[in-house]
């Protein structure tokens, strides 16, 4: 049996791990609340913007859907939105596995956001054409470089992690342009034309600017969703680790008390044996 002092030392180390996982768990929980708020604000923002965009076009949905960004023979792009670092549970692994089920290297290029996803792809020897760090700050998400990278492609499918609840996160894939239509449901209004409205610069330039802006917002939205799902996954991973650390501490304490008891029993036995020997020696002398 191990010594009680060694067990006590290990139990203290596990205690530190339990404290750390507890801290990570509350950090992840705060992150979930913060990102949830951002998602709501960003969704409202998109709807308001679409409301105005739809007022300057006769059929804005057709225009944006039929937008010819590239020739028909061009490859399609998969955008993978993963975490920037580890500690996000196994959700990134699920993301990559889901994407690989429909991936064909002859027709598709992969663009990856987040170091964790890039590492996962490299480990599987899957080639990606571009890598971007997850572009996030407290005030905005600058996805302009990613939008520039996807413009030559005929179609863009985004693979991301979707937050369902604190305990459930799913992997989703969307066509970026179709998702813009979905996000704007029921947000249309009357037409504004050059006859009744002052446009500075021209109507076409404004429409182009708004389309790029909304594409950026749609992509930002998926990054936010992923960030929310990753925070929830991190929360779950930390909650499990904390629970496991608590169970380990209980096991260690049981082992510690047994070792302590065994040590005192051994000491008692040694005292009894030496007393017995002393008594035998005294008896022999008499």
């Amino acid at each position: 049996m191990r010594r009680a002092s060694a067990i006590e030392k290990e139990a203290k180390e596990i205690n530190t791990i339990e404290d750390l996982t507890g801290i990570f768990e509350s950090l992840a929980s705060t992150q979930v609340a913060k990102v949830k708020n951002k998602v709501e604000l960003s969704t409202d923002f998109f709807k308001l913007l679409w409301k105005r965009y739809s007022s300057i076009r006769i059929d804005p949905k057709t225009r944006i859907t039929n937008r010819q960004l590239a020739d028909a023979d061009a490859k399609q792009a998969y955008i993978i939105i993963s975490a920037e670092a580890g500690l996000s549970g196994e959700i990134d692994q699920r993301l990559i596995e889901t994407m690989l089920q429909s991936y064909n290297p002859d027709t598709t290029d992969i663009i990856v956001l987040g170091s964790h996803g890039a590492n996962q792809l490299s480990q599987r020897n899957v080639h990606y054409v571009r890598f971007f760090k997850v572009p996030e700050s407290d005030h905005y998400i600058d996805v302009s470089p990613v939008i520039d990278a996807i413009l030559p492609y005929s179609k863009t499918i985004v693979y991301f992690e979707e937050y369902v609840s604190l305990s459930v996160q799913n992997i989703r894939s969307i066509d970026l342009v179709s998702s813009m239509r979905d996000m704007s449901e029921g947000a249309e209004e009357d037409i504004m034309t050059a006859y009744n409205t002052i446009f500075e610069p021209s109507l076409d330039e404004i429409a182009d600017q708004m389309e790029i802006t909304m594409m950026k917002l749609a992509l930002s939205q998926t990054i936010l969703e992923s960030s929310l799902a990753q925070a929830a996954s991190r929360f779950n991973a930390m909650a499990v680790a904390k629970k496991r650390a608590g169970e380990l501490i209980d096991d260690y304490m049981l082992e510690f008390h047994r070792a302590k008891r065994s040590e005192s029993d051994r000491q008692m036995r040694e005292v009894m044996i030496s007393l017995k020997k002393k008594r035998q020696r005294l008896g022999a002398k008499r």
Binding site: L48, H139, Y140, T197
Partner: protein
């Protein structure tokens, strides 16, 4: 009996994707586009513009609200002003 004159006002929504700068009634909005700095007052013609970097000022009944923007879009329609900034 003389009717009370109703003074028109603007309903302003000024937002960035994650920030609500102002939502409510206002007397005027000042911003800058390629042409220069301009004001929007109540009963302004319908207007759509891309904003240049600079300061936006919203004159409210209490005190003016101002903030810096790096880019944006402003629309004015039926005294409803929408500012989409820092996008």
């Amino acid at each position: 009996m003389k009717q009370l004159e109703v003074i028109p006002h603007l309903n302003v929504i000024a937002r960035a994707p994650f920030i609500v700068y102002y939502e409510g009634k206002a007397e005027a909005v000042t911003a800058t586009n390629k042409v220069g700095t301009f004001d929007i007052l109540p009963d302004h013609a319908d207007f759509f513009s891309i904003l240049s970097p600079g300061e936006v000022v919203i004159e409210t009944a209490d005190e003016p609200i101002s903030f810096q923007i790096s880019n944006g879009i402003i629309t004015a329609r039926n005294n409803e002003i929408m500012l989409f900034v820092n996008i």
